[in-house]
Assembly symmetry: C3
Homo-oligomer: 281 residues x 3
């Protein structure tokens, strides 16, 4: 397999961190191809890091190694790990919730804590221990793994997958005549909100394309949206500024304000505080 690493971080390109991290990778093995998934995960947002991995991981060739560095707990006791997923990928990441969605949707087969005595960069001229783990720990260890300098087993000791740090996710609930879920993420370009309700479950609950659907949004038990809106397959079918339901690119139900921004215009966001309920009229 081609030596390739796919990176996502919250570093941005505003400073030299990405370039330093990529330099370490190339210093381990010049033949590693570096691919940028994104460096614009919202700062410290391990929930988004988790969701983005889930969003794109399964489209990559089996065996691909991903590096995710959104690490608000750097310097604390959170584990640095390499997870092997049941659908055949490796993720090098702090174990801080970033594995939540991949674990939920695809499963983690095994997880190992990075042994810093062998898989961390120690530079003579670097004196004291640095706290830039993206560069010295995650990028370095991933490069060693993908280049074959270490096997997956040599990453470090296995630990129990039940110890993986997970964000809480409310599972969708189908009841008679309604379905409940949560907003899992925002599409930041358009302000659309994506639920965790799969299309098949939605259909099974009896909803059909073109239906007008009573939609309730709760923010912590408080109703913040209560309207009857249509379910369409194309934004072109609803008038501008109207709110509609659609089926997103991951085949989950989503909501949009046509030619608008649902998040901003309605003051909504995502996470476990947001519950959405679709009911038959």
């Amino acid at each position: 397999m081609k030596k390739m690493l796919v990176f996502q971080t919250d570093f941005t390109y505003k400073e030299g961190a990405v370039a330093a991290m990529y330099g370490v990778v190339k210093s381990v093995d010049e033949d590693i191809e570096i691919i940028t998934a994104t460096h614009e995960i919202p700062q410290y947002d391990t929930w988004s890091a988790s969701y983005r991995l889930y969003q794109y991981i399964d489209f990559w060739p089996k065996g691909t190694v991903f590096v995710s560095v959104v690490d608000p707990g750097v310097g604390t006791s959170r584990r640095a790990c390499v997870a092997k997923t049941k659908n055949g990928y490796y993720i090098v990441t702090p174990d801080n919730g970033s594995l939540t969605h991949v674990d939920q949707h695809f499963g983690i087969e095994e997880i190992r804590e990075i042994d810093e005595t062998i898989n961390r960069l120690h530079r003579e001229d670097n004196g004291a221990v640095s706290i830039f783990h993206g560069r010295d720990l995650f990028g370095y260890c991933a490069a060693r793994l993908v280049s074959g300098q270490i096997t997956y087993e040599e990453v470090g000791p296995v630990y129990d997958t039940r110890l993986i740090v997970r964000h809480e996710i409310m599972e969708p609930v189908v009841k008679k005549g309604q379905i409940e879920g949560m907003f899992e993420i925002c599409d930041p370009n358009f302000g659309n909100l994506w639920t965790n309700i799969p299309l098949p479950d939605f259909l099974q609950a009896g909803f059909r394309m073109g239906d007008r659907i009573h939609t309730l949004i709760y923010h912590k038990d408080q109703i913040v949206f209560d309207r009857t809106i249509p379910y369409y397959d194309s934004f072109g079918k609803a008038p501008d500024r109207s709110v509609m339901i659609y089926n997103n690119e991951l085949n989950r139900m989503a909501m949009a304000e046509v030619v608008g921004n649902l998040c901003k215009d309605y003051g909504l966001s995502y996470g476990q505080d947001y519950k959405v309920v679709f009911l038959h009229e």
Copy 2:
């Protein structure tokens, strides 16, 4: 030739779309080198998509395959196509105006509509038809083409190049003592405005470096700028905040506010509503 794809979109890196699209490319053929032209085309702006392709395409090796996904009409009947240009490139794009400038300046030799029955990604676990064409259609088809899995002829059926969707572009007009053109694009970092008037035509109209030139800007028949400004070859020759004419990197005439932002400070923009006239004093 090296397997290489050059991408431009309006996706930004704020979510996982780019990574999913690139994953599909690598799943088709790991040897394809992916190059990011930009993912910051202004949202839905097929005019800018068109201009940017024209701006950079000719600097690439002959045979390079470009993927442009700015697609406000996704899900409508607009064609998904691969254009073969007269100067030797391939462009995979929705046929929605994005080919306007390349067609005008270099010419389209032949165009084919993508046959979705063979050149679209259908995933078992993807259930219903997705509307993410960047990932499942344009990226996938381009990867198949550049990897040699299909020939250009196997993209799909040819259609008449006269059917290509084109934005209207006012051609520059040389009259006695004056030249007329339009603002084609803004340089968003500096707020400079680039006209479609080629340097040779400008010179032919009798203007010379150092001349002070009477400059009129019309927005839909309304004069919005009427001043006499100099034509220089370097920004250093005009005082700060003054407006000047210069010759841009594509050898067309352009206007700048020195150490300022002409677009913002003068409320100007680009497109067919903006006419610019240079007259002899």
Copy 3:
């Protein structure tokens, strides 16, 4: 060695300049791997360009060729050059201060002015001389160098390294019971300020982890910050919004406002106008 170029510019991805420049590189030699360090250096900021090179250069494999194009003086008489550093890298850049920190920390072994008669792109259809040096000069020359089409000696004539344009940098000064330095850069994501004071000098001045340190910041001789703040190894040890001293990823002393933005909240910035003094209580 692998053919590889690492780019930093202030172009952003908002227009087609990066794509045009990369196209020229690939037209010189398709086998050159192009790596983006960043295209988000603040506009015209040769100081930041200089600092970022210093921040990451030494993490790359020896022999790597870097291209830095932050070039406010394009079109003036500033030299276009290729510098060979004492730690084994090449930097293709305008000689305008961008080499300051690399010179200071690693040293420049030799510097050559690019001979534009052979190492500049001249295109038939490009008519008049373009002022896009990133595309036609720096990118083109770097590609020729890394592809082996020219040797380093064939870049152009050597000139005296004493002629290199350098920004002024105040050296850290250790006195009895105190140490003085300057703010060299801001970490724009977090608003942290990084000094040029190395950790060993700081320790030698008698400061220890956990100390409370009297800290004075001068902006041009004016005291703009005068507080006693702690020195910690982790942000988690100080209360939110408090200001603390820490040791950054380059082993220099830095200051942060915990879960805040020191630059913005305290109106501070970097450069030779900012002096910082750490004193024993």
